[in-house]
Symmetry: C2
Subunit: 193 residues, 2 copies
């Protein structure tokens, strides 16, 4: 009997920055200040935040999540894309930045124009290598997630990501959490397509 | 063969006001200024807006929808309930205000404290008397609505409301629209439970 119950965490808009961009935005050699470990091993929230600008408006106090990444990537809510004046910003898996939208980052040391890296995060579930077989899923597999409740829904196109150093959890964003009426640490049921 | 295709309109936060409260908020005898007819016959957007206050914050420029109603009712987004400091605000059908939350309305003439009337709108589909049999639904019936697309979902607990002077359309709110990646005038598929 396969397991189906998955814990859900809700992500707000946030940004991952490269070493090079951190130097530009916060000054050469700046070291990120960890304020909280996240569920995923090695990932952490930082004290540092930036402003994200688009042609229609700005998002203030967008949190940096560490550690530094190979390429800067900002994950906004679908609702934010209207604030920024960037409707149509693509829904993407983390790190899949081909065709992602250009945007501007305002840090304390400088303003940086990026030619790509703005995405709306695709619904996903992290699995470690031991958990994936218990749920019967493989890396890259698309499943559904049923969220029970008064605003219950079956969310489609949820991608499973399996990696050694992941911890088992589903990531939805604030728009999705509000639409289905849940808070952090709610549970959903994985449904195989 | 029953029909299943339903057009979807997305609602932002808004307020319906009683004649009595309109007198208090805008001055005795104030007449609402229609700016746009809505799809539902007789319903219209107004030039007038108010500020809604909760213990944690305020929502500015909340649009009044006309005509006047028997009892004042403010429909906010689930995301707004955190801005207002009123998490747990109940999900309700329009007009079902038992147990709804208290809130404060700031108008140009006065500030009005309401003991109830704040709700998050329950997903619903309006049917006129001729359309309902074509979809095989009755007033009060709970159905699902499948929204296709990259952020596709099957939304549960969608209530069917059947009335002579309704026009066929599904109402979701901005949180729900963003979560499933649609704009106004998208189409969903009604699924009978």
């Amino acid at each position: 009997m396969l397991e189906t119950r998955v814990v859900i965490y809700l992500s707000n808009r946030h940004i991952h920055v490269s070493r090079e961009d951190l130097d530009v935005l916060f000054g050469k050699g700046h070291v990120l200040t960890k304020t909280k470990d996240l569920i995923q091993p090695g990932q952490f929230a930082c004290a540092e935040h930036v402003t994200i600008e688009g042609p229609g408006g700005s998002l203030h106090e967008v949190r940096i999540l560490g550690p530094e990444r190979g390429e800067t990537q900002c994950e906004v809510l679908a609702s934010d894309t209207f604030t920024l004046g960037l409707p149509g910003c693509p829904v993407r898996e983390s790190g899949h930045l081909e065709g992602s939208f250009p945007f501007t980052i305002v840090g304390p040391a400088a303003t940086l124009r990026k030619s790509r890296g703005l995405i709306v995060a695709k619904r996903h579930i992290h699995f470690d290598l031991e958990s994936a077989p218990r749920y019967g899923v493989q890396d890259g597999e698309i499943v559904q997630l049923r969220v029970p409740g008064e605003r219950g829904a079956i969310l489609e196109n949820v991608v499973c990501r399996v990696l050694q150093n992941y911890a088992l959890e589903c990531h939805l964003d604030f728009d999705e959490g509000n639409a289905v009426g849940i808070r952090n640490h709610a549970f959903g049921e994985l449904i195989k397509a």
